[in-house]
Subunit: 371 residues, 2 copies
DNA sequence: GAGATCGCTGAATCCGCGA
DNA sequence: CTCGCGGATTCAGCGATCT
């Protein structure tokens, strides 16, 4: 049951340093921090992958796998002991209405989930990060491992955890946010590299994932702790969304990369942050408005995200494809054979040689509406 | 490690009754069946946890339900004991190369997964059943719980489990099947009803889900056991796909519904049940046979796929290139500086001005072998 | 310059038979 | 059991290079 925060705890909280990266073992550092001082914990612990030999792609290139010492454990027992120790230290830090997110793959997530339940946390959802561009299964021996699992849990059964229902609904184009999130891997310019061009961290998470986590379950000003800070994705998103963060990271190399990254982040305009997380949904924009305003022309062709489909815009803001017509969502869903489809992110248009999602135009409209 | 099946076990297997539904507690019934007689187990155990249903200890005594918050630990313990007991009985029944699927939600799946790992099973994939039409979260306090999780595991780490890679790939429109499957809930006419119009079983699974499970991981004629048979979805799909099934169900009402359901199922035409085979399953052809049969001549020159290398054929079916000699694979790998090389697709020969892969000739030989 | 092509890469428990 | 070796196996996205 949630307890009221004592005055003493409040004083200790005031002594907390925010927006810092602590060096050292996460369990020891957490034990040194004041109890009940944290609103949200995001934890991306070692997965204990247990990889054996090397793996090559069909073109004979070698897969650069995670073989770092920090991911090696002697046994499930050893991994469980580690897991339960850091989860215990973490729970002490959470405010009574605080919550935690942990992420893992099938190698470790069942042990994480059981440890959370055994440790007194109260599970709220398991969330599937559905990767739009996973690495294939090169030997054809199993299904393509195309997702990872996040577990969202409150500190206790009765906790009044934060959930920004309307913000999630708005993010999902007006319908309730589901427990499966389709988000691409962290690649391209977002992926941090060393001076020699290697990836700075083997398992850097996409900022879009953390963005959704924080928009869902924190408020501006909340304190977010990441005990496995790595190169600081949690801190970067927290700073941008005007949350405060505390990172803990053992490896000096990762901390250095994170410090540089964070220094370059500018917080989002505070009104934009407030809008995203308020109970008010973002102003709804009909697709037809884009046509009315001439941002897209009737007769123009949109292409699907994957490039496999195309459709023509009609003057009333509906689309026509081969034998299908309807809203941007309906046509996308029909062409993909999917139950639903967010047309705003599915459909793209060409502008100056680039392929741009139509959601880009919606954001433009919304910006105008706020003035 | 897989053990060889003993003669005694073989005899006992012959005594197994197929396509039957056993009445009774699944642990007791499983303990009465012969060891190493089952190819695949599909299990949809109680999701339980808050002990709304009944729970049994390994000795089958009924657990006196306690649902107070303070006793949550004891409840998890009881659920774990039950889980580990039936998983142990199930593992004994599996052939050395057998496998299991279990399904659960976030309430129980973490305990299932950990119990599988602790029990010696080897996890192959966790698979997300992504519901296209989930029930909304009416109170808006959490994310819409839009998926369930299946775990696919082999009996042991070294098992040569069945995976019909090509069939899955075909089912997914020519690209590898991923670990997330979008399938609607069981509704409409597929949903079994009682005489009074109520649903016959609270958690009836869609046949499409079982269809994919069986096409992925069984062959025609395989024996599929379902220890929580319910209204017989596993049996229905097994019968239709010409697999054999064994069901175990405690509740007489469910068994009655399942019996009627199964009686109406007609097996699919046996040719339609055959799945796409992979190249691995095709008869092996030595390269030398092509020379023996005069499809290629000793002394003839082969060129590499990329045109950068050439090699001469010797009478014994080996190749010679500059300073390299050996099999078609070895020479290809050496010339490319690659760890391995599939000589069948790497090497090409000239015929009527065209460049043809030598694999074309292997296919000719294989076609002759089938006659 | 625009479009096509090529190369690279991502948390991976990734082969199987015969000697 | 190990060892040797034949030979089967990849999707999406980004960025650089080529036409």
């Amino acid at each position: 049951m949630p307890k009221k925060q004592s005055g003493q705890t409040g004083a200790a909280v005031a002594a907390l340093d925010y927006d810092v990266i602590h060096a050292g073992d996460c369990i020891e550092v957490m034990q040194s921090l004041p109890a009940e001082s944290i609103d949200l914990i995001f934890a991306d612990p070692p997965y204990n992958l247990q990889l054996k030999g090397e793996l090559h792609r069909p073109d004979n290139s070698r897969v650069d796998a995670v073989d770092d010492a920090w991911d090696r454990f002697a046994s499930f027992e050893a991994y469980d002991a580690f897991t339960r120790a850091w989860l215990t230290a973490a729970r002490r830090l959470l405010k009574p209405d605080g919550a935690i997110w942990v992420i893992g793959s099938y190698h470790n997530v069942f042990r994480l989930g059981a440890a959370l339940q055994d440790g007194g946390y109260w599970l709220l959802n398991d969330v599937i990060w559905r990767k739009s561009n996973p690495m294939p299964n090169f030997r054809g021996k199993r299904l393509t491992n195309a997702h990872e699992t996040l577990i969202w849990a409150a500190k206790s059964e009765g906790s009044k955890y934060t959930f920004n229902y309307e913000a999630m609904k708005a993010l999902n184009d007006g319908v309730q946010m589901r427990s499966d999130w389709t988000i691409p891997l962290c690649t391209g310019s977002e992926r941090l590299k060393t001076a020699t061009g290697e990836k700075a961290h083997p398992t850097q998470k996409p900022e879009a994932l953390l963005h959704r986590v924080m928009v869902a379950s924190t408020r501006p000003g909340d304190v977010v702790l990441d005990p496995f800070f790595g190169t600081g994705t949690t801190g970067a998103v927290a700073k941008r969304l005007r949350r405060r963060f505390i990172g803990i990271e053992r490896e000096a190399d990762y901390r250095a990369v994170a410090e540089a990254r964070l220094a370059a982040i500018r917080p989002t305009d505070s009104e934009a942050v407030a809008v995203t997380t308020s109970k008010r949904a973002e102003p709804r924009v009909a697709f037809g408005v884009l046509v009315e305003r001439g941002l897209l022309a009737a007769g123009e062709t949109l292409v699907s995200m994957n490039g496999r489909h195309a459709a023509r815009i009609r003057a009333d803001g509906t689309l026509v494809a081969s034998e299908v017509r309807g809203s941007i969502h309906q046509v996308g869903a029909a062409l993909e054979g999917a139950p639903s489809c967010n047309g705003w992110t599915y459909w793209h248009f060409r502008r100056d040689g680039a392929i741009v999602p139509i959601d880009f135009l919606r954001q433009q409209i919304r910006a105008e509406m706020q003035e």
